[in-house]
């Protein structure tokens, strides 16, 4: 187990190193100069040069890369070109929106998907299964930005149960914050729930075909008991993989949803930073997201071992 973790950790570090090079290289070739973006059309050449020097854009790319990486290692992500505040601070502010949103959406999606998937698997081929599967097909097919539009139209504009967007912050209490994240979380969660329910169902059906399920039935367990006691835990392995993937997706992939609900989250930060050529912010956020994905995968791998004793003893 320890060896397994160590090996995974090593490849994690290597992946991050490669990722940092790729990210830096891709972002630095983007056309557009942060200084001229900030100073606009009437800026004079000397003003531009002064600003570039101030931003540290006048040194070579290799040096900038080194400065960025060494800075990150010591927890210093640099200073945003446009906002002129420390990137680490900006990211942590945005994380207070994105992370709860991702977790909220993940919780919703899991809460919907688990019962739906188990129900469908238990009634394989029956009307209930067909209904759930039909709904998930639709859930997968609906683009989430379109779904978000419809949610706003119905629940914010017509029914006025929720605000049309924006984030109330956590200062007024957990409930107020969660309330303002509800619509975005639903918009994010439903398509994910559809995917998860499908995975859950097919993983369960695979398990149902296993010999040990027959053994369980032969012991006198009813179909339902066998499903719950022996099926669900075994089906967790593929499901965990998907949950891991979804979490990373929710953290990074909510750009469009954050746009629709004007949430000050990470996704919108990158989007803005890309268009204002705030390169250091883009680099750091992308790096953070890659780091999050790799770490989540690492954790998922460790979680496998919790679920599956066969992996635990593989020293």
């Amino acid at each position: 187990m320890i060896r397994y973790s160590l090996k995974r950790l090593l490849s994690l570090v290597l992946s991050l190193a490669i990722a940092s090079v790729v990210i830096f290289a891709v972002i630095e070739v983007a056309p557009g100069d942060p200084a001229s973006f900030m100073l606009g059309v009437n800026a004079q050449e000397d003003t531009l040069a002064a600003l570039r020097a101030e931003l540290g854009l006048d040194v070579s790319k290799a040096n900038r890369y080194l400065a960025w990486v060494t800075g990150m290692l010591s927890g210093d992500f640099g200073t945003s070109y446009t906002y002129r505040t420390p990137v680490a601070e900006m990211i942590s502010d945005r994380l207070w929106v994105s992370l709860p949103l991702a977790l909220f959406a993940l919780a919703l999606s899991t809460l919907i998907a688990f019962p739906a998937g188990i129900y469908a698997a238990a009634r394989r081929g029956k009307a209930g299964d067909m209904a759930v599967m039909g709904a998930t097909q639709l859930g997968v097919a609906i683009p989430n930005f379109w779904f978000a539009m419809m949610l706003v139209l119905i629940f914010a504009i017509n029914l006025r149960w929720f605000g049309a967007g924006g984030f109330a912050g956590w200062d007024d209490g957990l409930w107020v914050g969660l309330h303002s994240l509800t619509l975005p979380a639903i918009a994010l969660a439903l398509p994910q729930a559809a995917i998860l329910a499908r995975v859950m169902r097919s993983a369960l059906l695979d398990i149902l075909g296993e010999d040990f399920m027959r053994t369980a039935r032969a012991k006198g367990l009813s179909r339902r008991q066998a499903l719950w006691r022996h099926g669900v835990r075994n089906a967790m392995i593929p499901v965990l993989t998907i949950i891991g993937l979804q979490f990373s997706f929710l953290l990074a992939g909510s750009i469009i949803i954050e746009q629709v609900f004007y949430l000050p989250g990470l996704g919108r930060l990158v989007f803005q930073a890309i268009s204002s050529r705030d390169l250091i912010v883009v680099e750091s956020v992308v790096m953070l997201l890659v780091f999050a994905v790799i770490t989540v995968n690492f954790l998922v791998d460790l979680a496998y071992a919790l679920v599956d004793p066969r992996l635990r003893s593989r020293t």
Binding site: S15, F145, A252, I255, I256
Partner: protein
Amino acid sequence: MSRNLVLGGLLSSLVVLAALMSFVWTPFDYAAIDIPNKLKTPTGEHWLGTDHFGRDMMSMVMVGARTSLAVALVAVGIGMGLGVPLGLTAAARKGSWLDEVIMRGNDLVFAFPSLVIAILITAVFGAGAVNAIIAIGIFNIPVFARITRGAALSLWEREFILAARVAGKSSARISAEHILPNVMNLLIVQGTIQFSLGILAEAGLSYVGLGAQPPTPSWGRMLADAQTMVSFAPHLALIPGFAIILTVLGLNLMGDGLRDWLDPRLRVART
């Protein structure tokens, strides 16, 4: 053949037909702007109404199908074209450094937030259909590489592969002759699924303005254009929205149906 396959096949061929049809005939010129006739609801003349520039929605949806299908198809093609050989190679050299490099590379690509990278790519190289294809295609490579490797690995354990090795065939030759044909079913099924994901991805990119550029219509951009008008001209958003949903639904149903049809294991229900 299952109901899924029939329904999915019908929906998909409808979309393909509309796309092909648009090459020879559309009710109107899809790019013809006619401001006085803007925002018309469906009429006898304009079957699906007109958009905010007075363009014929029917023609735009038909040509939009062409864009969506082409982008998604080529992107999946890139994914398959590169991913399958990589997966075959990794499986043939299982455990070697090459396998390790390919698989770690895959993990790395997977680790990147796809939408962010797609936005970056289009920011770097400019918005447009070609760059959208590349952005979507890149993320298809590891999907196919993984699936191919997984399936190929279990095939390599089979005795008929051993028989081919006894016949002195090289691993490249075995991969092409024995492995590839036997993973084809799986690839076809995954292909339809990636295809539908590609259509969604294209819609998403076009929605943020990074897909095919005007005047070439695209469903995602039609949606983006329509979103502020939903409250007074809902058909502008509903029509491309339904086009996307039906296409993706059709492809997914077809994928599901194909899986059941091609995989006899699943056809016989076990207790």
